[in-house]
Amino acid sequence: MTTRTGESTEAGQRLGLVGRLKNGNIELWANLIVLALVIGFVFWRGSGFAITIGTVFAIWAILTVSLNLVVGYTGLLSVGHIGFFGIGAYSVAILTSTTDYSLLRTQSIPTHEWPFFAALPVGIVLAGAVALVVGVVFNRFRDDVFVLVSFGFAIISFNLFLNAGAITRGAFGIHEVARPNIVGRTLDGELEYLIMALACLAIVSLVAWAIVTSSFGRVLTAIREDEQAAAVFGYRVTHYKLAIWVISAMMAAMAGGLFSSWTSFIDPNSFILLESILLVSIVILGGLATIWGSLLGAMTFVLLEEGMRFLPFIPDVYVGQARQVALGVLLVVLMLFRPQGLMGRYKL
């Protein structure tokens, strides 16, 4: 069903590893380079660095895998995914936060003091419900119009986080979001948190893999290739699109919950439109319609920031911006020479 572009598998197997490298197999090169960079950075900066990078990677990777289900497998270029991420993050933050804001003399919100593992499902279900409503409205749009309305969703959700001060404390942000607590043991250590984040990533990746290899996933690919044809074959296209949209939103909300309890402080600036554009860029960089590609893309993105520290003429404050420049340039180059992304199975 999926069209394999570029190198064909059979030819690759006959050539062997070295032969494929010599042939300029971009996928293999990308894998090798990223893995080599990971190992290099870990040896260079030590294990503390590896743990931080790993957690950031896990959160971004959950986001990219979930977005790839929508963009890569269903063909809807959504730029509003950060909204669901934000819903998850804010739900967990609001429900678990224990700060007494009356002492801070800024806007105060009630504290609920829920445990993390009770708050996370609430956030996920809430994001799913929102996605259901939004999806029903958005289902009729396609292509560039869909992009525009998904921009709209990102902006509307950002404004909600910013302006609904009675719930979210607006621009002040929410402090001291609780760390997860498993059977009486609080995950305070960074390593423990990394393991949990990676476990969540594994669950999300497995679910995504199960979806795309099932008959459900094949229908999604059919919708991507030709929506009308899929409808003619009797598939309820709308329902399929809605289902994957909701599932993807719930995964993003999970990443959001992890994010807010990891940083323990969130404010609306983490959920701006630009982050959403970055997210789409990473998905496209890694490759559309491939889960491994999404993981690779997230890893590239995380490593890119560290790589920017090598550039002597960039002050440390602007490393994040420099990464954004690099990502933008990479995206343009990819669109010119490899529109399916590094590992992609589907061209935009």
Binding site: F141, D143, L148, I155, N163, Y318, L331
Partner: protein, 366 residues
């Protein structure tokens, strides 16, 4: 890398890298544009190599001149004044010629060419002298320089990137993603070079409030409205009354057929990119004088423009104007009951409502 200091109440930004990049962009764009225009006409008389050499030289000169302008912004009235005078002179001469041809209904003869040329020369020289005598005109000349630079960057992006992309792209989404990449790269570059904090522009004329209809309005806002109306009228004239406008509309209808009938689509689209970028720069300058400038100011304005064109009807200029006004009105009316922070939400809700129930907009394209 960064060198900024407060000079006379406003920031002075001098960045050699930026100056060099702009100089290179202008050099490349000027050389390419001259080549595209001159080569078909001079093909018979000169060799390709010599035309390339000449336009290359012109491009290098233009790039050096741009660098000079950017390095000495305080002397803009001396350096850019003559160019502005030349532009004024040419415009006056062309308008006069057009009028004389209409009146005397004769295309040739000294009346139709010589008289407008002499008057244009005089007016242009007068304007140049007037500008060069007034250092305070630097701010307004810098508007022109910014618009021209933005136009050149737009043209450079078109020639360097979009031409190739358009030839390869299978779907419009590729262009969209590529432009998102450009957006990421450029906005981050601006942040690195000019810092992310909002920064006021030096005061222009009409910064004081004027009592109007019971409210206080900055005089500059009237100027902004005037500029946007004038720009709209100019665009309308360009699109409806000139042969260039006919080519643009033809390309909008069917690009392949336009090529077949002999329209140089590459050049026409390039000019459209130039005009679009220059207009966008003007919008940025005007809104910057109204509030302040910051690296991320453009995206939301751009999206609002997109919404306005959807609401008004895509592909219809009147629709865009109507949509823009309607959107502005709805945003402001909404504020009566809600707090002002919600106006972005209002515009996107309007967008979604329109796309759901009225996807062709108020004034659909015929």
């Amino acid at each position: 890398m960064r060198h900024q200091e407060v000079v006379g109440g406003h920031y002075e930004v001098q960045n050699p890298v930026v100056n060099i990049v702009f100089g290179l962009v202008v050099a490349g764009v000027v050389a390419w544009a001259l080549f595209e225009i001159l080569y078909p006409r001079l093909r018979g008389r000169f060799s390709r190599r010599s035309i390339q050499g000449a336009v290359g030289l012109a491009g290098i000169l233009a790039g050096l001149y741009t660098g000079l302008l950017l390095v000495y912004p305080d002397n803009l009235h001396l350096l850019f004044g003559p160019v502005a005078g030349l532009a004024v002179g040419v415009a006056v001469a062309l308008a006069l010629r057009e009028g004389l041809v209409r009146v005397t209904s004769s295309e040739d003869g000294p009346m139709a060419t010589l008289v407008p040329a002499i008057i244009g020369l005089a007016v242009g020289a007068g304007a140049a002298a007037y500008i060069a005598d007034r250092p305070e005109s630097g701010l307004y000349l810098s508007w022109a320089v910014s618009c021209l630079l933005a136009g050149c960057v737009g043209l450079g992006l078109y020639r360097g990137l979009y031409v190739t992309l358009r030839n390869r792209a299978r779907s419009p989404l590729i262009m969209l993603v590529a432009s998102m990449g450009i957006l990421l790269a450029i906005s981050a570059t601006i942040t690195i070079v000019f810092e992310s904090a909002p920064r006021p522009l030096p005061p222009a004329f009409g910064s004081g409030p004027i009592e109007f209809g019971g409210g206080n309005i900055k005089g500059f806002n009237f100027f902004t409205v005037g500029v946007s109306l004038a720009g709209f009228a100019g665009l309308l004239w360009l699109l409806q009354r000139t042969s260039f406008g006919r080519s643009v509309r033809a390309i909008g209808d069917d690009e392949d057929v336009s090529k077949v009938v002999g329209i140089n689509t590459t050049v026409v689209i390039a000019i459209v990119f130039f005009i679009g970028a220059a207009f966008a720069a003007m919008a940025g300058i005007l809104s910057g004088h109204d509030t302040a400038i910051q690296p991320r100011m453009g995206l939301l304005l751009l999206l609002k423009g997109w919404i306005a064109s959807v609401v008004g009807g895509i592909g219809n200029l009147y629709g865009a104007l109507l949509g823009g006004f309607a959107l502005g009105m709805v945003e402001q009316f909404g504020i009566w009951d809600l707090a002002g922070e919600w106006k972005d939400v209002i515009s996107f809700v309007v967008l979604i409502l329109f796309l759901s129930f009225w996807p062709k907009g108020v004034l659909p394209r015929k």
